[in-house]
């Protein structure tokens, strides 16, 4: 609602008056250092974060260095793995010699029934028995 008064001035309705009045509201300038204060405070937190992170990192590095001392160099490690795997396969497949008279397998001994016979058999099992 808007009209012209006798003097030629703009006469405003209550809505327009309110809008006009609302528009005079302003916000005072913030202090210039607010941004830098926020960034400084956050950087301090970042420093703490990094310190915590470095502590964890140092522990990890320590563990790795210990492991490096214990572990063998790669070629030797690979050879050791091959030997161990071979031994395990050999053990679990039993000592079966094809074409020979002796077919001996630890697996064929009934351990459950007679433990002594197993021990005796294994103790008396000599290299010559293969031949």
């Amino acid at each position: 609602m808007m009209g012209i008064s006798k003097r030629g001035n703009v006469v405003m309705g209550s809505n327009e008056q309110l809008e006009a009045l609302l528009s005079i509201r302003d916000v005072p300038e913030m202090r210039g250092d607010l941004e830098s204060r926020i960034l400084q405070a956050s950087a301090a937190q970042l420093h703490v974060k990094r310190r915590q992170f470095n502590f964890i990192d140092a522990i990890n590095k320590g563990i790795n260095s210990v492991l490096d001392c214990v572990l063998l160099p790669s070629p030797a490690y690979a050879m050791a793995v091959v030997l161990i795997v071979g031994a395990v396969i050999g053990l679990y497949s039993g000592a079966e010699i094809e074409g020979g008279e002796l077919v001996m397998s630890y697996a064929n001994i009934d351990v459950g029934d007679d433990m002594e016979s197993f021990i005796m058999a294994s103790e008396n099992f000599e290299y010559g028995d293969y031949l």
Partner: protein, 209 residues
């Protein structure tokens, strides 16, 4: 990444970087939005240092726990952060009310009609501020977001977590309440008088209805 390239990133992209503790990205976000959120906080509680504290606290909270912003929810960063800042500002107002009493509202109550009449045109801002602060909290927030922050009704409704219709209702009630308060204080008719020079006539017209 250099800061000038960070500046080209959207707020949401910066937030992804902040979640990976990229302080450069945080710096860009702070520089981009501090002023805007300070204004939003100030309008909730018109006190410079309190508004600054709210903004600082909100940004530091964001830096400390950036995972609280969920990119997959699809909300704009500013919409979400408005909500954070405004809620913190409201909390601040409530704390102040509990400790000091409501100083802004007290000013409204303590200021008699006679005293208000004596205020000059330059003090209209103060009257307006007092009237706005005297509005119910949600009406005040709705008015601030739509009128002063220049947000759409949809965005403001999203920030306030209400439907658009409800927001429109809040806005209408806010304006109606303001008219009554300002008319009672004489600020509205006084303003009309200044503009038109027909103060008495205008006074008669300026009734809310």
């Amino acid at each position: 990444m250099k800061s000038h390239t960070l500046e080209n990133l959207t707020d949401e992209d910066l937030m992804v970087r902040i979640q990976k503790a990229d302080h450069g990205a945080f710096s860009v976000l702070v520089k981009r939005h501090t002023k805007m959120f300070y204004a939003a906080a100030y309008r909730v509680y018109p006190h410079i240092s309190d508004a600054e504290d709210v903004v600082q606290e909100a940004f530091l909270k964001l830096w400390k726990r950036p995972e609280i912003w969920k990119a997959d929810r699809g909300a704009k960063f500013t919409t979400w952060f408005y909500r954070v800042v405004i809620n913190m500002a409201i909390d601040n107002v409530r704390k102040k009310k509990n400790t000091k009493g409501s100083d802004v509202l007290d000013r409204v109550i303590d200021t008699s009609a006679d005293q208000l009449e004596q205020l000059e045109a330059g003090q209209q801002k103060q009257l307006l501020e007092i009237a706005i602060q005297a509005l119910p909290e949600r009406q005040k927030i709705a008015l601030n977001l739509c009128f002063y922050e220049g947000l759409s009704n949809k965005e403001a409704a999203e920030i306030m977590e209400v439907k658009v219709k409800a927001l429109e209702s809040l806005l209408m009630r806010a304006k109606a309440g303001l008219k009554i308060l300002l008319l009672r204080q004489g600020a509205l008719s006084g303003h009309a008088q200044d503009l038109s020079g027909d103060g008495d006539k205008q006074k008669g017209k300026c009734c809310y209805g």
